[in-house]
Amino acid sequence: MSIEARKQALKYLFSQVAEPLGYRLTTNDWLLNFCLEQEAKNEEKLGIPYCPCQMLTRDREHDMKLVCPCIPFHRKHYDAMKRCWCGLFVHKDVVDESKLRQIPAKEV
């Protein structure tokens, strides 16, 4: 399997999930490629494309909430940030992504 082919496949599959949730993929090409590559590597290693930016605990119930796109499981948090934790997905109504910042869940 080539990582490049898997990245393209993940991009296609993720868009289908994120779109109805009101999110789109980031326009930052570097970030997009970096996140997708890490997820493809996670999938190669663990069998599932977990979020590359959040800690796995080996507790299945917890970890399944970190399978990308994890938007539905962190809706309130991500809607407040207008992006997902990694920045791979951005809310559709965002014009300037560079102004978005990570906000800890506790502060939301």
Binding site: A5, Y12, L13, E43, E44, L46, G47, R60
Partner: protein, 127 residues
């Protein structure tokens, strides 16, 4: 050798159909109106891929959800780890654990692809 496999109208857009030609089991895939042919059996555990799902050009196995690119036959992902089933008797749990350990050693292979020619309403596959 090009062999008649099916009619174009047999496969709806996004659809799958299995055919057997000269002992070759083949899955025909209609991706945006273009027909692609790949081997029918999954590169993981031989499940019939025509009973899976075609999402764009990604063919998903119905058994363990391994994914393949129908245009190249390339494996895009291996099997998805199964969720634990609760409430099973201990002997069944042990049996599935044994199978899991056994199957952890097998690889998922790329699919063989076949050249497809559409002449009129006939789909011909080079086997």
């Amino acid at each position: 050798m090009l062999t008649n496999a099916a009619k174009v109208e047999d496969i709806a857009m996004g659809g799958l159909k299995s055919v057997e030609i000269n002992s070759h089991e083949i899955t025909l895939c209609n991706y945006e109106g273009k027909i692609y042919a790949v081997e029918r059996r999954c590169g993981h555990m031989n499940a019939p891929l025509d009973m899976g799902t075609l999402n764009g050009k990604i063919l998903i196995c119905p058994m363990h959800f391994a994914q393949f690119d129908i245009t190249t036959g390339e494996r895009l992902s291996g099997p998805v780890p199964a969720a634990p089933i609760k409430g099973l008797p201990q002997n069944a749990v042990s049996h599935f654990a044994f199978l899991g350990k056994l199957m952890a050693h097998i690889k998922t292979h790329d699919l063989k692809t076949y050249k497809v020619v559409v002449e009129g309403s006939d789909i011909k596959v080079d086997v």
